[in-house]
């Protein structure tokens, strides 16, 4: 198996999603990218649906520090503690799980475990996951912190990069969406406008 990149650790989990904190500040995976957590017997697949960088202590807001500095990097250089006082975290929407060899695009029986490691999915796995579009229905029906159209479009764009024929993948996904959203033309148009190459 190819080297998989570890991007964080679960700090909050529910059946529909989990939140993970990144080990390094600002090292969160991009919106719409696929991540996974769990062990080899049962893996959960998530799509990054939100990310944030906040102060470590909820009541303590960062203050502006760059008045006398030349560049943004200089701020961090002169205040090295910042990297420890701030944290980056991201939320992932659970869109499927793997049990043994079988991949299911539906909610898992158990949520993710706290402190589970979160990995970026390698392209082969993304491609494998993209063989079915059942996960689109999960995204469309989820309560999301970002607009649904944006997340659907971002995840499809990301996923298409793992495919050799990006266009064919996007057309197939578009057709699936056209069926799912047959009663909601505006949403369909919004998504199609965002995924076209």
């Amino acid at each position: 198996m190819a080297e998989v990149q570890r991007v964080g650790e679960v700090i909050e989990a529910s059946t529909t999603g989990f939140t993970a904190q990144c080990y390094e500040l600002y090292q969160m995976p991009p919106l719409g990218s696929m991540v996974k957590t769990g062990d080899s017997s049962a893996e959960l697949y998530g799509i990054v649906c939100n990310a944030a960088t906040t102060s470590l202590e909820p009541g303590r807001r960062p203050i502006a520090r760059g008045k006398d500095e030349d560049s943004e990097e200089a701020i961090y250089r002169s205040s090295p503690q910042l990297a420890k006082l701030l944290r980056s975290e991201f939320e992932a929407l659970v869109v499927g799980h793997r049990e043994g060899d079988r991949l299911y695009q539906r909610l898992p029986p158990q949520p993710a475990r706290i402190h589970g490691f979160v990995y970026q999915c390698p392209p082969d796995e993304v491609k494998d996951f993209g063989k079915s579009f059942d996960f689109l229905n999960i995204i469309l029906n989820a309560h999301l912190p970002v607009p649904t159209e944006e997340l659907v479009a971002a995840s499809l764009r990301r996923m298409s990069q793992a495919h050799d024929d990006q266009r064919a993948f996007l057309v197939a996904a578009g057709k699936e969406l056209a069926i799912l959203l047959s009663g909601n033309l505006n949403q369909l148009n919004a998504i199609l406008g965002r995924i076209k190459l």
């Binding site: 069926i179 033309l185 199609l192």
Partner: protein, 529 residues
Amino acid sequence: MTERLGIVVSGSLNKGVEVRLDSSASIEDMAVGRFVTIEGEKRRFFGMITDVSLGVTDQRLSLTPPDVSDPFIAEVLAGTSTFGTLHVSPSLVIGGDAAAILEGPQPVKTIPSHFSAVKLSTQEDVELVFGTEDEKRFFIGNPLDMEVKLCLNLEELVKRSNGIFGKSGTGKTFLTRILLIGMLQKSRAVNLVFDMHNEYGWAGTREGGPPVKGLKQLFSSRVAVFTLDEENSRHRGVSTDGVVRIGYDEIEPDDIALLRQTLNLTDLAVEAVHQLFRRFGRNWIQDTLDLKGAEELPEGLSIHEGTLLNLQRGLATIRRLPFIEPHSPDNAVKAILEHLDRGTNVVLEFGRYRDITAYILVANMLSRRIYAQYQSRMEKASAAAKESLKPRPLVITIEEAHKFLNPEVAGQTIFGTIAREMRKYNVTLLVIDQRPSGIDSEVMSQMGTKITCLLDNDRDIDSVLAGVSGRNELKSVLAKLAAKQQALIFGHAVPMPVAFQPREYGSAQSYRDFVPQKDAEEDIEKLWD
């Protein structure tokens, strides 16, 4: 592997089924009249596309169309939010079990279940339904957009009167030639063709091309050409087998009644004809024309002066026809019958006399006498209960049929009788016409098989399709036929209606296809003798 077109989504037996097209099938490749197969759960259905339409899942899509200049959006929407639908009327069904396959396709009594796959028919499907070329079946053309031979059972065809319709220039004549060749090769029937425009005997015309060969050139031993106009035939280099002359004394009152319209006779004049015939006998035409006025009429005949003048004017028109003689020495009917009995097809050319008066008069007179002969022979044969005594089936081909078979005269002409009595006396009609609405509806309803090229007059279309099941669907197919070389066939001799493109006629290759090679070689050998 045949291409799947789509799936059945709704429908009824009466109205046919709706088929939603797959996104891979382009609606622009569909065409009404195409032959399709529906794979039901237990049975296979055969039908024809009778309408093509567009659908959207969301009405707003048609109100605010998406940006289709973007090929991506267009491709995504095609087949999902926007889709094509086909209307298919199933006509035949074949069951899946062995017994049903042996039995062959049957008329539909049900429709395929939801989401049955619809495919374009394959060669096997067409052959299953229409059969393959054999000693009875004749290759008449290809179903629309298919490279499969559509075969027609000629033996079955000639059992009924048939019609070929289409407005002028749509290829009726070519189609007729093909059918005549078919009958000549594949059926026992002989043909008597009243060839008004000299198209069938020796050579025929072709729009914007060299003349095409007639029957005599292709099958010289089995076709005899008679002519009314010897001089004209000679000019055209036609070798004729006989000249038809008609004597005044052969014309009977019924013949005049038929010409009432063309000769502009009054009803009273037609009545008077019967009186005059009774009084003067066979020579009545000459005697009537000799009368100087009503006062010269023999005792007991009460004919008004005006009526007599009207009649005399009409009879003078007949007398002016060059092939009419006071007394004809040879018996044309007998000569023609001899040929027919030998199994030789007879084409009667009219030469320059394309006048409708001449055509009606001659066709009616000859047919009546020939029919009378057939009638008496059939009656003798059935009295003796001997199949061998029965005369060969005869097909009489007439053009401009609405002149013979319009509601006013259909009751009087022999053609009306033949059409109604069907094959009782082994005589049937092949009617060629461009105004089927002019033909008596009773006669139309008796026609077994109808082949129609493009018709655009609503009344004509209605009259051709009267009494046919699924006529509304066929109507849309018929109205959309190409102006040339496409036809729709339905009725007795075909298991289901089908639109087709008649086979080629006129090229050297086509002649070779029609005439079996052996005969062609013989012909060439004859040239050297």
